[in-house]
Amino acid sequence: MMSENKFQSENSIPDLSPDLFVKADGLDVEDNEKITAPSLSFLQDSWRRLKKNKVAMVSMVLLIVITLLSIFAPVIAPNDPNAQVIEHANLPPRIENININGFNGTIIENDKRIDKYAAKDVPNDVNYYLGTDSLGRDLFSRILYGTRVSLFIAFVAALLNLTIGVTYGLLSGWLGGKVDNVMQRILEILSGVPNLVIVILMLLVLDPGIWSIIIALALTEWISMARIVRAQTLKLKNQEYVLAAKTLGQSTLSIAFKHILPNLLGVVIIQVMFSIPSAIFFEAFLSFIGIGIPAPNASLGTLINDGYKTFRFLPHLMWYPSAVMSMIMISFNLLADGLRDAFDPKLRD
């Protein structure tokens, strides 16, 4: 009913006097055609959208801070992460001038709160911010270095999987035909192999260490990247602008690099962002079951594993590394979600 009334009233507009109108000016018309907003590139546009997403921005800042801390770990760490001070073993956290249980060096033993630092004759000016482990190593320094190792593994694995996956997907999708067919059959067979199996077999064959883990992770993670890139390439290569480039005589290779690759950027970045937390998790998982980074070096995974063994009596050894790791994982996932919304491949399809 409402809309009907409106319609009627619109139809019966009373007389319009000519002085309501202004004559169109030639200059004005040209002005109207002008685009006042600056023209944004794809990345600028996405960045603008990402900036509006507060959660993603906070995650990004947090990740940048954590990454910087881990890069500058040698400068920041108060102690050598592998230096053992047996007399200072199993100390709870203590921070100077803070008297809150949990940060004042006290611990409950036999239903009584006792000052562990006093009991062990630790000098007053020696503080372990996050306590020490069973060999008297400073947990704070170990976490800094552990984060460094975990992030290094994740970043390098992500970079390798990006290189392999994008190359494979791009080739397969762009060349098409028989090559694509063969490459896809290979992928099909490989995707039936559980990641876990490949990673564990690789670790058994290679010497345990950072690089074996990186290689094992890179060997497994690239498959989904290759698939996504191929699907996107197949779609993109039938677009008009590719046809135009072809008609203008551009070589296949330069079309692939100039027109296809930049348009793949969104999906690739999203995929990389999701592969980083999964690499961090896998490294921690391997360390947790005992085939990760060999001692005395630590990653977040080995720290959690060590802490788990005594988590009831020395909870700080388990929960601080766990908290750092969870924080990194949550931030990466939130940022990746934010990036996906910003790039919004669904809208672009």
Partner: protein
């Protein structure tokens, strides 16, 4: 339909090829590995080693061993464990598959159901605090490593509240905490997936039509939304199977469950090659079968996919 059967036949062929490839790769990798299967080999005389080699078939040329292994696999013989009192690997696995299957199935069922509820509710209440909470739960569930979550459960329900045993295998009560720890990843994944699908379906034309017919919001959701949003959820089964395998290795260790995952970790740490190969084959068979099952089911449930594959061939 005939060409659909052909398509499935082709998929089965690929599946067998994959398994054969995995078997071959694991076999030759294991042959490459340093170390010896016998503990204290230095103390054994050459005759003793020769006798042992003969017993385990290690005196044959590698290629013959390979043939024996592949033939054994085809007949279900996975060889004999080096570590666990000469038990055949297939016995070791069949003895331990029960607990693993139990917590695995419980985790998938509970996790997926809760995930679906969470996803549907947050899609229906888009943009409200309910949505935010549900999305946050899903992200936290996806981010926190399951072993950290498992220890947290142990601490809260085992140590503080004393509701469930901490680490013990006596039946259903002791399967609750490990199932919960394993359920977190299917829960997070299906919640996230379901939300996206629901949002998609709710903005489709037939939902608009149903609304126009005067159905209430929740009626529309149940009669038209959830049903259609559920279909793509099947594709999550593959990743879920992988997550369960990985998860069970740590969860079974934390909760002391005599399952496959715990066995696998033990075998890896003690270089028990036949068992490692056996479990590897089991995991691969499981994953390949799930992938095949998903493909077949998908074709049956959603005729559009079937038509597409038929058209393509």
């Amino acid at each position: 339909m005939k060409s659909y059967a052909k398509y499935i036949g082709k998929r089965v062929l690929y599946m067998l090829l994959t398994l054969f490839l995995i078997a071959s790769i694991t076999f030759f990798l294991m042959k490459l590995l340093p170390g010896t299967p016998y503990s204290n080999q230095d103390k054994l005389s050459e005759e003793q080693i020769a006798i042992m080699d003969e017993k385990y078939g290690l005196n044959e040329p590698v290629i013959v061993q390979y043939g024996i292994y592949i033939f054994g696999l085809a007949t279900g013989d996975l060889g004999t464990s080096f570590q666990f009192h000469n038990t055949p690997v297939s016995d070791l696995i069949s003895y331990r598959i029960g607990p693993s299957a139990q917590i695995g199935i419980q985790a998938v069922v509970v996790g997926t159901l809760l995930g679906i509820v969470l996803g549907v509710v947050s899609a229906m209440k888009q943009g409200t605090w309910v949505d935010t909470t549900a999305t946050l739960t899903a992200i936290v569930g996806r981010s926190i490593p399951n072993f950290v979550f498992a220890v947290l459960l142990q601490l809260v329900f085992g140590v503080w509240l004393r509701w469930f045993p901490i680490a013990l295998w006596t039946g259903f009560a002791s399967s609750i905490l490990p199932s919960m720890a394993l359920a977190i990843s299917p829960l997070a994944d299906s919640a996230r997936f379901m939300r996206t699908e629901m949002v998609d379906v709710l903005s489709s034309d037939y939902v608009e039509l149903a609304k126009a017919k005067g159905l209430s919001k929740w009626e529309v959701a149940f009669k038209h939304g959830i049903r259609n949003a559920l279909i793509p959820l099947i594709t999550l089964l593959g990743p879920m199977a992988v997550a369960l395998m990985t998860g069970s290795m740590v969860i079974e260790n934390i909760f002391a469950i005599p399952g496959i995952g715990e066995q696998f970790v033990k075998s890896i740490l003690t270089n028990d090659y036949p068992t490692i190969m056996g479990v590897t084959m089991l995991y691969s068979l499981l994953l390949v079968s799930v992938i095949l099952l998903v493909d077949i089911l998908y074709g049956i449930i959603d005729p559009r996919i079937r038509v597409a594959t038929e058209g393509g061939k």
